[in-house]
């Protein structure tokens, strides 16, 4: 390993524990890397140099025992800018929260801090996590490290690009319909959406409460597991958080039955994606596992269902940005004008589009046809998975039908943008864990493979995914970024 910033999180922590590296050197190297490449990438909205260096200096005084007891000590981490932090601004990529400093830390931020993680900054995202390209940030573009003319995916595009361009080894994202897994696939890294309720949502700026889940973005599966183990676990401040129960016995080390849902392998898949995914399936067969053709019959309704439930909840969750208590306020001659001007100037077009969709779906006279029906279909989709997992241990699919696209390509066609979420939204609707990992490079761009597991099988999902890793220590990175 030639450079500190190329090292994995587990590697950095081990060297810090052994005294081979000082935290200051680790943080310093990553800050230098950010200085060198982020002007091209645009992953960070805020970098807390002083805070990170201060924490590093403090940790350098720690004994070996202290370092061992803090499993992320010495490790820099980036946070998606929809996670509340009281030491750095939290904007959710929106003008309506420009310069907003949270009065408290999200549960995951507290847990990272307690584990010794050194938080270096906040990463770019589609405004309020609504989007699949990070183009809908009010602040800046984030470029794909593999090809600077392309999007990094979204909404956790900043976190994915930061990890892929090796500015940090670990980042947190949030995933409502694929917002961790899709940018992970586009940037050639690992991204995991845990079982709904495994990770506390307290302090995550809500987009769609019944779908949102925080998860890790890393370069290796091992690092994803390291980060997942820190952030998961019951939180009394989140009533939807699951009780702490041991994960079911991991289903590894024996021939597995792996489900291949025929509805996910359609003509819509780009040839490069198909080639890499088929290669990966071949390798699974060669490893002695059985591929089973399965059906998830309600898949065709997933996008429609998702784009009713998510905007409905979003329209409600975003109503609090009214200019009364915090964030942007545009004065008006009366209360109504103040509300209207503030929200008109504070929100971008994609956010407005979804608020309108959601408001309509919940309106008197439309509720039964839209929201209520969508909830029923959601139950059917969940049942599809229950029935499938009665037959197979895991399900494998492409993460996305295509690879990273060029900027502006889907600006005028939101429906096409929405259809890109087809393989990822079902895990959110069903509440099950999903993980995307790089399985190949086609046309100079990475391809992601998605693993799905039954609810609560998060750790076994992280174990099983390792079998497809080319080399768990040496990540095949992009050639696009020059430092």
């Amino acid at each position: 390993m030639s450079e500190i910033w190329q090292c994995s999180a587990s590697g950095l922590h081990a060297e810090f524990v052994d005294g081979a590296l000082r935290a200051q050197d680790i943080v310093g190297a990553h800050l230098e890397r950010i200085d060198a490449v982020d002007s091209q990438i645009g992953a960070f909205l805020y970098v807390d140099r002083e805070g990170a260096m201060k924490t590093a200096r403090m940790q350098d005084d720690w004994s070996k025992v202290d370092r061992i007891h803090h499993p992320l000590s010495g490790v820099p981490v980036a946070l998606k800018d929809n996670l509340m932090t009281h030491t750095m601004p939290t904007t959710a990529g929106s003008k309506i929260l420009a310069k907003f400093i949270a009065p408290y830390d999200a549960t995951v931020v507290e847990r990272l801090g307690a584990a010794g993680a050194i938080m270096v900054g906040k990463t770019n995202l589609d405004e309020f996590a609504m989007g699949s390209s990070t183009e809908h940030s009010a602040w800046q573009k984030t470029r794909n490290p593999w090809d600077l003319t392309r999007v990094p995916g979204g909404s956790s595009g900043g976190s994915a690009a930061a990890v892929a361009s090796q500015m940090v080894p670990l980042a947190l994202g949030s995933d409502t319909g694929g917002s961790i897994r899709q940018p992970a696939a586009y940037c050639g890294i690992v991204g995991m959406k845990p079982t709904y309720g495994r990770v506390s949502r307290y302090g995550l700026i809500a987009f769609a409460s019944s779908l949102d889940q925080i998860g890790p973005l890393t370069r290796t599966v091992k690092d994803a597991e390291l980060l997942y183990r820190i952030i998961q676990g019951h939180d009394p401040r989140d009533s939807t958080s699951l009780p702490d129960t041991a994960d079911p016995f991991p289903m590894v080390g024996r021939p597995l039955r792996i489900g291949i849902p025929r509805e996910y392998f359609t003509d819509g898949i780009a040839p490069g994606v198909r080639t890499s995914v088929e290669d990966a399936l071949e390798r699974l067969k060669m490893l002695g596992h059985q591929l089973v053709d399965i059906s998830l019959p309600h898949t065709e309704y997933a996008i429609a269902t998702y784009y009713l439930i998510a905007p409905a909840e979003a329209s409600s969750n975003l109503a609090r940005y009214d200019g009364v208590r915090y964030g942007l306020r545009q004065a008006g001659t009366d209360l109504l004008t103040m509300y209207e001007t503030t929200r008109d100037q504070g929100f971008g077009d994609e956010v407005k589009r979804r608020i309108l969709l959601g408001t309509h779906a919940l309106s008197a006279g439309y509720y039964d046809a839209y929201y209520s029906t969508a909830q029923k279909v959601r139950t059917l989709i969940r049942r599809d998975f229950e029935e499938a997992f009665a037959e197979v241990d895991y399900i494998v699919t492409p993460t996305t039908p295509d690879q990273a696209f060029v900027f502006g390509e889907r600006d005028e066609d939101p429906i096409r943008m929405y259809l890109g979420d087809i393989f990822t939204v079902t895990a959110n609707l069903a509440g099950i864990p999903g993980l995307s990992m790089p399985i190949g490079v086609q046309n100079g761009l990475p391809v992601g493979l998605q693993w799905l597991a039954p609810a609560m099988h998060d750790l076994s999902l992280l174990s099983v995914a390792r079998m497809l890793e080319m080399d768990p220590e040496e990540w095949i990175g992009p050639k696009g970024v020059k430092a």
Binding site: N82, P103, R201, Y202, S210, R320, V324, R325, L335, L362
Partner: protein, 489 residues
């Protein structure tokens, strides 16, 4: 008026006096520095989540059971959405189509009439909004408004009656009985002035012979009335106003009206034709509320005595109906009485003294039975002194006033003022003899048949003894003294 039947339904919001708010740990104290009792959760900051307060649910279930409701083992929370500066999240967490409890009733007793059951349609749990303080005389000319979110998130139950009430008097009886019932559960301060109990009354007039649904009648909602008396006034005014409108051949507009306390008139606030669409949907941040039937049973077995039972007990113990009613409806008075009869056996006498003299002094001094200068034990001691003849009734009243003023016990006041009643016949006879000797003319009048003259002589004896003589004894001794002189003449 005979052409219409009055139809009234009432919604009551009751603030539960839990330690903390419904979804966060902030205190629920009233009258604190604005926005001092707030946290990110009740301020509706980004990223916060609600956590349900179990104490609030227990209080709500107690209330529901006391009002004979069926508590649902499965209920859920919903978001009621609208924009207003006192509503931090721009939605109120409430319960919409699956409320905590349904199908209850409150029994009222009209004077001289049979008891009547007023059905309770539903009881649900929700969070309160904050408060706006307008900077100006009226909302219309306010230069601005200050938002105080101390109340935001305080737990409420909303109790919705069926439209079973037929007059302002029935509405008063319903509210009085409801308030009395809740007061024995200790779940709320129930202070209408402070807003811990708030009433909205829906009033409509049903033409005689109308067969349609009551829901279809245009109804007027009188909102946020601050006393039961004003609910009554508002209804009376509305009934008169609506019947005039109808008799003039005009239509009643479905609307919300406020009550002007000064004039007792209602005035239009907003028309319901442009009704809000609250876009209710299930609260995704809270799992459904599932209550074990065994736990609900447990709560129901531990309910305290409620007005119906207490009323029966009091009547069975011989208290006059009116006294019983006052005690039942004032939980503090009933508690006071219950303690006092522990120390003094004459239950009727205790009630009588409480509801006349003690009540008068409490009102004059702006105290209450719970915070009273003379506690139940103190009153009992005073009544004991009367019973053993140490004090006359008149003296006891004077002693009671002394007790209120000095906060001393009855015995201490008696001693300090030298108020022992003279029961020593020998000593009193000396005074009587002196009076008879000094008022020969009056004595002669009495002898010649003027009975009134005796009263004058009694008065003179009382005056000479500074009121400490027992009037009955003075009477006897006077007659005895005068009679003896008769014999000697």
């Amino acid at each position: 008026m005979d052409r219409y039947e009055v139809i009234i339904g009432i919604e009551v919001h009751v603030e539960l006096k839990t330690q903390s708010k419904l979804f966060c740990g902030c205190a629920t104290r009233f009258g604190m520095e604005p926005n001092s009792e707030t946290c990110p959760v009740c301020l509706g900051m980004p990223g916060v989540l609600p956590v349900l307060n179990g104490e609030a649910i227990e209080m709500a279930v107690k209330s529901a059971l006391a009002l004979h409701c069926q508590v649902r083992p499965f209920s859920k929370f919903d978001r009621k959405q609208y924009f207003y500066p006192d509503l931090p999240k721009a939605y109120q967490i409430s319960q919409y189509d699956q409320p905590l409890a349904e199908w209850g009733w409150v029994e009222i007793r009209l004077s001289g009439g049979a008891p009547k059951k007023i059905r309770v349609r539903r009881i649900h749990v929700e969070e309160d909004a904050g408060k706006l303080n307008h900077m100006g005389q009226r909302l219309g000319d306010a230069v601005g408004s200050l938002v105080d979110l101390n109340r935001a998130g305080v737990p409420l139950i909303e109790i919705v009656s069926e439209p079973d009430l037929r007059s302002a008097e029935e509405a008063r009886l319903y509210l009085t009985e409801l308030r009395a019932t809740l007061s024995y559960l200790d779940v709320s301060d129930l202070r209408m002035q402070e807003g811990s109990m708030r009433c909205d009354a829906n009033v409509s007039l049903k033409p005689v012979g109308y067969q349609g649904s009551l829901e279809d009648l245009p109804r007027v909602e009188i909102k946020n009335v601050n006393s039961i008396r004003n609910v009554q006034r508002g209804i009376d005014y509305e009934v008169a106003r609506q019947s005039e409108v109808l008799q003039a051949g005009q239509r009643i507009i479905k609307e919300t009206r406020g009550l002007d306390d000064a004039t007792g008139r209602t005035y239009s606030q907003r028309s319901k034709e442009e009704a809000n669409d609250y876009r209710y949907f299930p609260e995704p941040d809270l799992p459904p509320l599932v209550l074990e039937p065994a736990w609900i049973d447990e709560v129901s077995h531990h309910l305290p005595d409620l007005p119906a039972t207490i009323r029966q007990n009091l009547m069975a113990r011989g208290l006059p109906e009116q006294d019983a009613e006052v005690l039942v409806q004032d939980r503090e008075a009933y508690d006071y009485w219950s303690k006092a009869i522990h120390y003094h056996a004459d239950e009727k006498l205790v009630a009588n003294w409480m509801l006349s003299d003690v009540a008068r002094l409490i009102n004059a001094r702006q105290e209450s039975y719970a915070r009273c200068s003379v506690g139940p034990q103190g009153l009992a001691e005073l009544l004991d002194l009367m019973a053993d003849g140490t004090l006359s009734g008149r003296m006891a009243k004077e002693v009671l006033e002394g007790m209120f003023e000095t906060k001393e016990t009855a015995r201490e006041v008696v001693k300090a003022r030298g108020l022992n009643q003279i029961t020593d016949t020998g000593a009193l006879m000396e005074v009587v003899k002196t009076v008879v000797a000094d008022h020969a003319v009056v004595v002669a009048d009495y002898r010649s048949g003027k009975d009134k003259a005796l009263a004058f002589l009694v008065g003179q004896v009382m005056k000479a003894t500074r009121g400490q003589a027992k009037p009955g004894l003075v009477n006897t001794l006077l007659k005895e003294a005068i009679g003896r002189e008769d014999l000697t003449t």
